[in-house]
């Protein structure tokens, strides 16, 4: 695979940008900045994909990530203390191990990449990649594509169910308490009854032993 000089220059720029912004994600105190540094890293990778003539995948990656990272920034503001970086913060655990793991994985992967002899069969540099991908998506790989769609739909339903306030039997905070078996029994009674049983169970077993 050989590329022209301008493409090489652009590649170096985007690659450096993608790596540097990926690093900055974990080096900033502001949640919104962290999310948008990550977005910048994705844009860098997306741009490299466009250079590789995988236009559609690269652009879709960028398109998707704008929404995803904004949600991420938003969720961070919702759930994380200190969203604006008023206080400096470094919230990490097993820091040294993590650094070691990161560096090791980089070395191993890079080494493998350099030492392995991959087949050399570059893609023909035409602008038909998008069209071929479309034919593939709705032709041979339709099953995969549809599975992905179904998986996403299932995930959405599941995610809403998990996140929503109402569980299957009522408010999530009160736990999912099953309804009573008798129609006139109070819910609270049923749950109190069951808790009692749960607590008594071990001692009953203990008595038998």
């Amino acid at each position: 695979m050989s590329t022209s000089a301008p493409v090489d220059v652009l590649f170096v720029l985007f690659a450096a940008g993608a790596i540097a912004t990926a690093y900055l994600v974990f080096r900033t105190d502001s949640m919104v900045r962290a999310a948008y540094w990550l977005l910048a890293s994705f844009v860098g990778v997306g741009a490299i994909l466009v250079l590789l003539k995988a236009e559609f995948v690269g652009l879709v990656l960028m398109l998707m990530m704008a929404g995803e990272m904004t949600i991420m920034a938003f969720v961070m503001v919702m759930f994380m203390m200190n969203p604006a970086g008023l206080n400096p913060m470094l919230m990490v655990h097993q820091h040294k191990t993590a650094i070691a793991a990161g560096v090791t994985s980089f070395l191993v992967l890079a080494g493998a990449a350099l030492l392995t002899d991959f087949p050399n069969a570059p893609a023909t540099q035409t602008s038909r990649a998008t069209e071929e991908l479309g034919t593939e998506l709705l032709g041979e790989s339709m099953l995969v594509f549809e599975t992905a769609g179904a998986a996403l739909l299932g995930t959405m339903v599941g995610a809403v169910a998990v996140a929503s306030r109402r569980g299957r039997y009522g408010d999530a905070e009160e736990g999912s308490i099953e309804p009573p078996l008798q129609p006139d029994e109070e819910w609270a009674q049923a749950s109190a009854h069951r808790t009692e049983e749960d607590e008594h169970e071990p001692s009953v077993h203990g008595g038998h032993s």
Binding site: V32, L39, V60, L63, A66, G67, T70, T130
Partner: protein, 310 residues
Amino acid sequence: MRPYLSPPLAVITMIGVLIAGSYAVAVLEEIAGTLVSRRPLRLTYVFWAPLATAALLLTQGRTSTERPDAQAWALAPALLAGLAAVGLAVIPIDQNTSVADPAAGFVLYSAAISYVMVAVYLHGWSANSTLPLIGAYRFIAQAFAFQIPFLLVLLAPALPAESLAISDIVEAQESLWNVVRQPLGLPIFLVVSAAATFSLPLDFPDAADLAGGTSSEVSASHRLAWRGARAGLLVMVAAMGASAFLGGWQGPWLPGWLWVILKTLLLLVILIASSHTFARLRIERFVVLAWVVLLPLSLVNIFFAGALLL
């Protein structure tokens, strides 16, 4: 593949289009405001006012809020203007001329639209002040509501063209414009365009009940940049509407580029006139409207467009 403009010429064209487009938007705004308020129309004033206001904003000094995220704050208007430029770049100027006409032009355009959310959120967030922040929050709800209908309604014109390149979409309208072939398309597109450019009646992040929202704390050249970028965005959606629904460069007698400009201006007039006509919706009404009405309608539109092809 169509011949592109040479890179220097393309850059000059884009800058020229953005500046001329923003000026046109400002003049149209001024005219619409004058007509609705029933002030006497003074034409010299109307044509001078945008330039004079721009000059005034440029001569003034900027003020700052307390501890803003200064880099992000300065970046946001530039990002928005850049997005307008990216979106405009994929739209062919003429049958034989375009700044950039990639095979996945539609996807690039959609990506630019979805980054508007990033620019507005950054602009509101980084000012470190209450009203801009509320504006930023509002735009997130707004953006997630309009984006899917926006993508779907723009995808429908790609079906008869069997291509994601904008020039192919225009070419496919040679016999029949999409505004006739897909009668639902243009109305939905205009509504979601007003939302995407956050102009009245859907100007939630920069609304008057927030004293300007995300732009309530910006001053001088920063204010000019933000207003210019918003106007550029308006031009960008109008130009897309002209290409995707009104047949772009196609038309008798006049050269293609003139048709593109005229059709874009027509859509700009419609968008600006409706922004001076309708009352602002409440944001929850808009969100409901987008998910419950616009989304199903745009799906119907796409099925309709697909069925026509079979």
